[in-house]
Amino acid sequence: MPTVGDAMKREIKKVPHTATIKKVAAKMKSDKVGALFVEKKKELVGIITETDVIRRAVATGANLGKVTAEKIMSKPIATIESYRTNGDAHDIMGDLGVRHLAVTENGQIVGIVSVRDLLSAQHRVSEPKITQD
């Protein structure tokens, strides 16, 4: 059974908690990602997504050069252990209404898995079967 460990991206892209929304957006753009971890005193304390930026900063008319990542990030970070199945990851995303989960190994964050990562993995598994229909 495919696990989160197979589907995830084993890298931690992050911004300091003091980064402005404008800076966060610039990093999302250059790194081509929809979510970034937020770091404070060497600890990952939250996750900031495109949806957070849209709903909690842009939509509210916040000053995007002033408001910081810490103010609008999602916390606590929703996590899943890497040995769990992709189906479990999907269920958690569905329950929480999120597109990204931090992936942990023994409680330590080692990467991230997105709805798109799950889809690509799921698709690889189901493709040969679907074509038999």
Partner: protein
């Protein structure tokens, strides 16, 4: 084989092309969607997504009360006919690097399909088979 018509959302959420980014973000937030179609002179001319707002507006430091959706929307709209398979929708999203496709019938847009709709579908298809592994 299951078609897009069976899995899509048959609803068109749209904004006028002159809508300021802040307002579009407000509508995304209120309707809990990640994209909106853009209408100009009775025609759907583009799609504006969370990624467009983050990467083309917030990241650039543009004035979001003045900038209109027409300036940052993605166009032409990437569309797929509703009689095509979910497989085709997945391949097209992966190839284009997008999370949403407009769904057409006879060339007319009748709704939208998202990466999350795909995931829900592929999970349903593969789950009973995976548990046999």
């Amino acid at each position: 084989m299951s078609t897009i018509a069976d899995n899509m959302r048959r609803i068109i959420k749209k904004v006028p092309h002159t809508t300021p980014i802040i307002e579009a973000a407000g509508k995304m937030s209120a309707e809990r969607v990640g994209s909106l179609l853009v209408e100009k002179k009775g025609e759907l001319v583009g799609i504006v997504t969370e990624s467009d707002v983050v990467r083309k507006a917030v990241a650039t430091g543009a004035s979001l009360g003045n900038l209109t959706v027409e300036r940052i929307m993605t166009y032409p709209i990437k569309a797929i006919e509703s009689d095509r398979s979910m497989q085709d929708a997945h391949d097209m999203m992966a190839d284009l690097g997008v999370r949403h496709l407009a769904v057409t019938e006879g060339g007319t847009i009748v709704g939208l399909i998202s990466v999350r709709d795909l995931l829900v579908y592929f999970k349903r298809v593969s789950e009973p088979k995976i548990t046999q592994d």
